[in-house]
């Protein structure tokens, strides 16, 4: 944790929602370089609203959100949406889906010369264990394979902050374990700052450096050890965790 550095993201007294209707109020949290933030809470509590606000997809109803990337403006996000959000009617190859991560840049001249970012895409697919799927059609893959491809796509964006929206939902247990191992590698080897939305707290709890618990219209934020302390965990997660 690099608290001396400026946070990549800081929410100060923010109310989040749609239009003028706030779903979550009083959000105060920050994500520093190297952090692994778990955004947890029950379904429909406002976790996705928090994520969408941070990504700039919706505006906050109230309060301040500061984004500091290494370049001017917001950090580079590597966004992994819920895999069900992507329409499988598109006849895209795995390579094409992963290459979308490189579409940040316009590069018209490079495009006219027929050059692409094949090396970067290959490296990201390999890192996620999906290189052998490169020529398959994305829609033909299993849920776990799709998730690996979407993570590779996010890495191809060369992110400062990796944002994972329910990455383990609807995936079998062995694949969940493999993905958690992958996230651990990103954290330990790359020092990649990560934010992960989840509606549960199971195996992934060991990854989190910080936790934001979103429930009942409020967001409770703190270091993982404090949030997971026996008394606090019972308060916010109930007795079954």
């Amino acid at each position: 944790m690099n608290k001396e550095k400026e946070p990549l993201v800081r929410f100060t007294g923010a109310s989040l929602g749609y239009g003028r209707r706030a779903v979550v109020t009083g959000v105060d949290l920050s994500v520093h370089p190297g952090d692994f933030l778990g955004v947890l809470g029950p379904n429909g509590a406002g976790k996705s609203t928090l994520l969408k606000t941070m990504l700039g997809l919706i505006k906050p109803v109230k309060g301040r959100i500061q984004l500091h990337g290494s370049a001017f403006g917001a950090p580079r996000f590597g966004y992994v949406p819920q895999k069900e959000k992507l329409d499988v009617i598109y006849p895209l190859s795995v390579r094409e889906v992963a290459a979308m991560g490189t579409y940040r840049r316009f590069e018209l001249l490079r495009r006219l010369r027929g050059k692409s970012h094949d090396d970067l895409v290959r490296q990201c697919l390999k890192e996620c264990g999906a290189w052998d799927l490169a020529d398959r059609r994305y829609s033909d893959l299993s849920g776990g394979q799709r998730q690996r491809v979407l993570i590779a796509r996010a890495l191809a964006a060369e992110p400062e902050l990796l944002v994972l929206d329910e990455p383990l939902a609807g995936i079998d247990v062995p694949t969940q374990k493999a993905l958690l191992k992958l996230f651990k590698e990103f954290k330990e080897r790359r020092g990649l700052t990560t934010m992960m939305v989840s509606h549960r707290l199971q195996a992934e709890r060991d990854l989190f450096t910080h936790i934001a618990w979103v429930a009942d219209g409020k967001a409770d934020f703190g270091p993982a050890e404090k949030m997971l302390a026996a008394r606090h965990i019972t308060e916010i997660f109930g007795d079954d965790q």
Binding site: G56, Y79, K85, D87, P91
Partner: protein
């Protein structure tokens, strides 16, 4: 066979009509793939009708003495194209805005637009002080009478559309496939959607004036449906759909010339024949799933 050889001769009397049909056949599917992939197939029905209403409106204005462009008949056609583009792009923007803001059924709005555009086109023609016959012929697509200058203008504009679809395919794909990702990558969804809609509007407008709204609907939707089961990427989808559209237009023209039958329905028949062949072949070829 002799009809085919006639058509391929450089001095073929209807060569502009042939080339015009084939070019429209090649280009319409390039924008049509986005209708199919965005699941907006009913837009493909409604928008050519809106485009026809725009043409009828422009001609009605001219009937009342309004002339924006000089040059007689050519000026009239320019105004008709302008009317068509304005109506089509306006309708796309209105549908998009309503889809984002309203709770109701999207298909219901598209159906209402189709009914409104059809009724408006008939009324604009009826109010046209210069008679209905020429106007009705234009609304059906008057490819056979296309002049050399109109053909070259159409060719240049459609080539520009092709170039834009090729150059900006990444952006159009990104905002169509994953809008949230596009925003996180700092791309302007509004701008790229707007440019795509403009290209769609121009293609439909020129196409409707060339081969009529029915054929344009067919060319927007059926070729991507033919290509979709076989495609392994956006480039192969666009190329295969475009080839299917161009081939169907050529085949339709051949049968129209050979048997002296109306061109539009024969292009549609050729498209549907290819679609049937593609579907049968898909059933025969085992699908490589997971």
């Amino acid at each position: 066979m002799s009809a085919l050889l006639d058509m391929l001769r450089p001095d073929f009397l209807l060569h502009h009509a042939l080339y015009g049909s084939v070019v429209v056949g090649f280009v319409c599917p390039l924008v049509g793939v986005y209708f199919v992939l965005r699941r907006l197939i009913f837009w493909g029905v409604a928008l050519p009708q809106v485009s026809a209403a725009g043409i009828a409106f422009a001609f009605m204005l001219q009937g009342f003495g309004f002339a924006l462009f000089a040059g007689g008949e050519a000026g009239e056609k320019h105004l008709a194209i302008l009317g068509s583009v304005v109506f089509t792009v306006g309708a796309i923007l209105a549908l998009t805005w309503l889809d984002q803001r309203s709770q109701g059924l999207s298909e219901g709005r598209v159906g209402t637009l189709y009914a409104l555009a059809s009724a408006a086109a008939i009324l604009f023609v009826a109010w046209n002080a210069r008679g209905e016959t020429e106007m009705l012929s234009l609304l059906k697509g008057e490819i056979v009478t296309i002049s050399e200058s109109d053909f070259h203008a159409m060719l240049n504009i459609l080539l520009a559309v092709c170039a834009a679809m090729f150059l900006f395919q990444r952006e159009f794909l990104l905002v169509s496939y994953d809008r949230d990702m596009a925003v996180t990558l700092g791309r302007s969804v509004l701008f790229w959607d707007g440019l795509l809609y403009l290209l769609i509007g121009v293609t439909i407008s020129l196409g409707v004036m060339t081969v009529g709204p029915l054929v344009i609907f067919g060319l927007l939707v059926v070729p991507p449906m033919i290509a979709l089961p076989w495609a392994r990427g956006m480039k192969s989808l666009s190329a295969a759909a475009s080839a299917a559209g161009g081939l169907s237009a050529f085949a339709g023209f051949y049968f129209s010339y050979r048997f002296d039958l109306p061109l539009g329905p024969l292009i549609i028949a050729a498209l549907c024949g290819l679609f049937a062949l593609s579907s049968l072949a898909r059933l025969a070829v085992p699908h490589k799933g997971r």
